[in-house]
Amino acid sequence: MNITIKGIGTVGGFGAGISALQQSLATRQTSAQMVSLDTSKGPIRIPALLADTTSVQAYVDKRALRRIDHYIRMALLGSFLALEDAELLDSKPERMGIIVATGYGATCNTFDFQHSVITAGDPSGSPTKFSNSVHNAAAAHISIILRELGPNLSISHYDMSMPSALLNAIQWLKEERVDWVLVGGVDEFCKVLGYYWHCHYGNTGSSTQATGRAASVNRHAVVGEGSCFFVLTREDECTSAYGCIEDVQLGNFERGRVDLPDNSPFVLGADGFSPGDTRYAELLPRDCRPAVYTPLYGSLPVGMAFDMAIAALALRSGTMAPSPDDLLPALPGLPLLRKMQMPAGKRISCLKLGAGNAFGLVTLQRN
């Protein structure tokens, strides 16, 4: 039995849909822009990759979107694009589970609501904001809009949220709880995150004076937001051009083993922020020339979802795109795949080394 990928839907700083992601892979340029933020210490400017969700209105009635914020819109747009890519938009499958991974949750609403609670004398805040700040808000709204009564799960485990969500999706399909799973990751940029970036990177360089394209800023990290969803199903033969999910591993790389597949190109989730960025060289074979695509979608906890989409696109086209030219994080002792593309082969692994020495490894494979 195979867990196959039937559709992919994504939105991020690169645009909406897999064609926009492919376009950005082809040009190898980040589309990060400078974003202005007002903070208690005055205005700051930081580079960020932000998602435009205007096109969600093509799928969801305007009134149904009335209370739906940017975070949930990103998740909805990713979901609908994935269903459309799987050609399931007009006939939504029976027995479908929904799993949403998020590292940060609905940050803007969460912090807005916290702000009103902290600044008011008495605990008080907007009930709509509170409801939309609950961590399962995105998954709940997807089920309501799709009218899907199947199992519904939200996972928030920082940078391991996406591989965790996938682990459950595979379990559900294997147990035959469901026949389909819509699973994806979503994370939102907000002022607090921008401020965090500014505190860590903004004071040491030129970012506060920088104008124009963020690529001119000599930084190895750029904040991103967006969503990336997958439609998965169970098949005897893996017939999908995107391939199937061969393996998902989660654990601790200090205490346990990472079983790396042989002869597989790697896509690394190094994003310049992650404490695990410096550790890839210890685990990977010396000459593996991994690719890093984080500059295309930015740093966000569910970044692995975008790496998986890029890996699936590479399996479909047969070639792996080189890493982008700008904003690549420093990975000491590990030469990256640069400038030239290479044959994708039958298998690609996405590896993320994250907080607390946790790792997530997802291997895609096609026939």
């Binding site: 912090f111 609501f113 902290i118 399962n136 089920s143 519904n152 379990q171 147990e175 505190c199």
Partner: protein, 405 residues
């Protein structure tokens, strides 16, 4: 769907307003004691106080966990985890070098929901704790992973109020599929100003002690706590001679697909979740000894639940334990699973606290006093914000077979 093999529960820990151990909780439940009071963990003007169920501050945690950066949610989870391991008679060192997973439900313990993160940011950069550090300190799953030096899948479920039940259902599936030798599972949530304000803004708090399923119910009271269940594979149970206190027999979950704060009046999602859990466990509704209902005390929740239970499980006694614990959110499914196992062991369920006046609109009513139950299977169900429904079918432990080898 494939039938599910029973997964042994070999240790349980529980901490909430009713007590700091599972035994203490059960004692106060059977005595009908409950301790709702105005919140002490944050300030407010006297007029806005709704009663809550807080854990007494002298609960046990190792000193290294009492540093202020470690979130109370994590401290509660660790306390319950230590009790669960002790209950199993298991030296934590036995867990190292095996595939041990951790899967917990929480709300406040998920990455950026805690207030101090926001305060750090509005009050300046220095000293500043970055999101990754904040996550490691506040997340109860990370706390347990580092405390016991575990290596296995670690996962935080954030399905709002059903997160604890969902986490246990997922943990059982990790054992069944061979992914883990054992899973530390359950849920934890602390009393928190922001959730308190949120529930207040939704007008679903009762300004008096909550009265689930009662004609005069006005809403819920918030609570805090944690419960941890140690699930193990049959092989590990045998190897380490761990006797089961109970079993996870089945799990089902479904969505209402209706409204993000209101339960679906016909309870369609809840029905599907109960059907799935019973089918997975291969248990008939007639074999169910009792149901630990969600019973928050809100008008809509209790009505939908009463309708579904009276139709699907007619005559089966049920209760809500929220009258003893308050609504502990992400912990509630786990705390109630712990209570359910304890009740199967004693063959008796406590009175549904706060219930005295029957509501003519409710077709099914909970038990008004401590009630003997017979049978070895019970249901614990939870409903959540967003329309999530999660149901566990739990079984009584079979006395350990003595091995002579």
């Amino acid at each position: 769907m494939k039938p599910a093999t029973p997964v042994p529960i070999v240790g349980i820990g529980c901490i909430c307003s009713a007590g700091t151990t599972l035994a203490q909780c059960m004692q106060s439940l059977y005595r009908g004691e409950r301790y709702p009071a105005p919140p002490t963990r944050f300030s407010f003007s006297g007029t806005s106080a709704f009663p809550v169920f807080e854990v007494l501050d002298n609960f046990f945690t190792p000193d290294r966990w009492k540093q202020t950066e470690v979130l109370r949610t994590s401290q509660l989870a660790l306390t319950a985890a230590l009790e669960a391991l002790e209950d199993a008679g298991l030296d934590p060192r036995e867990l190292q070098h095996r595939r041990i997973g951790v899967c917990l439900g929480t709300n406040v313990g998920s990455s950026m929901n805690n207030e101090s993160f926001y305060r750090d940011n509005v009050e300046g950069c220095d000293p500043y704790i970055p999101p990754v550090e904040r996550f490691l300190l506040s997340n109860p799953v990370c706390g347990i992973v580092s405390e016991f030096e575990l290596n296995g899948p670690a996962q935080t479920v954030v399905n709002a109020c059903s997160a604890g039940s969902d986490a246990i259902g997922i943990a059982a599936s990790w054992i069944r599929s061979g992914l883990c030798d054992a899973v530390i599972t359950g849920g934890a949530d602390e009393m928190y100003r922001v959730t308190y304000a949120g529930f207040k803004s939704l007008f679903i708090n009762d300004d008096s002690p909550c009265k689930p399923f009662d004609a005069h119910r006005k809403g819920l009271n918030l609570g805090e706590g944690a419960a941890i269940l140690l699930l193990v594979s049959q092989a590990l149970a045998q190897e380490l001679r761990l006797g089961p206190r109970g079993y996870v027999l089945g799990y089902g979950s479904a969505s209402d697909a209706y409204h993000f704060t209101k339960p679906r009046p016909d309870g369609k999602g809840l029905r599907r979740a109960i059907e799935e859990a019973l089918a997975a466990a291969e248990v008939n509704s007639g074999d169910v000894a009792f149901i630990n209902a969600h019973g928050t005390g809100t008008i809509d929740n209790d009505l939908a639940e009463s309708i579904v239970l009276s139709e699907m499980l007619p005559g089966v006694p049920f209760l809500s334990t929220k009258g003893y614990t308050g609504h502990t959110l992400g912990a509630s499914g786990a705390i109630e699973a712990a209570f359910t196992i304890a009740c199967l062991e004693t063959g008796r369920i406590p009175a549904s606290a706060g219930f005295s006046v029957p509501d003519p609109q409710l077709p099914g009513l909970p038990v008004a006093q401590n009630t003997p139950v017979s049978g070895s299977v019970a249901i614990s169900e939870t409903l959540a914000f967003g329309g999530n429904n999660a149901v566990l079918v739990l079984g009584k432990g079979i006395p350990t077979i003595e091995h002579n080898d």
